[in-house]
């Protein structure tokens, strides 16, 4: 179903805002994760992990959900569709993957925030979780930049389903 122009632009505005906001929030998260891993200042390390948990639950998770949902609405409400073009399909798969990875990582984020709230100095047993935050947020940032590039360049290619739909429409329009 093709959305009327007003709703289409609203969905696109929400999608662009949420997606770019997601990138900015993950970049800030990465900066905090690096500070938490590398800093020798115990106060700074504790503050970083408390801020990371807040940022995750109040900024990153809502923006990821809004980006995914508005992206689905935008594609279904336009001629692009959700499964007709490879670039849209690849974007969908990568966004679902990035959101799933984010949800999996909320557990270690909460563990680090709990440790930051309870203890003055981080033990060596948390080092791997601290490293995990840096690697996961760095990889997510790269993935989100790939998604942005896909939206801008829109590399060509229709899926088999999209090609079949195009043929059906041509046959309907043919005299």
């Amino acid at each position: 179903m093709i959305l009327p122009p007003l709703l289409r632009k609203l969905a696109l505005t929400v999608h662009v805002t949420a997606s770019i906001g997601w990138i900015g929030a993950v970049a800030a998260f990465l900066a905090l994760a690096v500070a938490g891993l590398a800093s020798h200042d115990a106060q700074l390390v504790r503050a970083a992990y408390l801020a990371m948990a807040l940022t995750t639950w109040w900024v990153i998770v809502p923006l990821a959900g809004a980006s995914l949902l508005s992206g689905v609405v935008s594609s279904l409400g336009t001629r692009w569709g959700l499964f007709r073009y490879w670039w849209v399909l690849v974007k969908l798969v990568l966004t679902v993957f990035a959101t799933a990875v984010l949800m999996v990582h909320t557990r270690p984020i909460d563990l680090l925030a709990d440790a930051a709230a309870d203890t003055a100095v981080f033990g060596a047993d948390l080092h791997s979780a601290q490293l995990q935050m840096v690697i996961a947020s760095g990889a997510t940032l790269l993935l989100l930049l790939v998604l942005t590039a896909l939206s801008v360049y829109k590399p060509q290619g229709v899926t088999r389903y999209g090609w079949r739909k195009q043929q059906e429409q041509r046959e309907l329009l043919a005299p």
């Binding site: 690849v90 791997s128 995990q132």
Partner: protein, 46 residues
Amino acid sequence: MADPSRPTYAGTPRWVKAAGIVALVLVVLFVVLHLTGRGFGRHLHG
């Protein structure tokens, strides 16, 4: 028998195949790192 005058599907674009291979390599690398114990985050399980 297929109608030769009917257009056929052009196939999967090269960029999708390349991206698929890169994704597969990354997944295999991730699994191998975890199975060999070099992965990060193993202290958090269980």
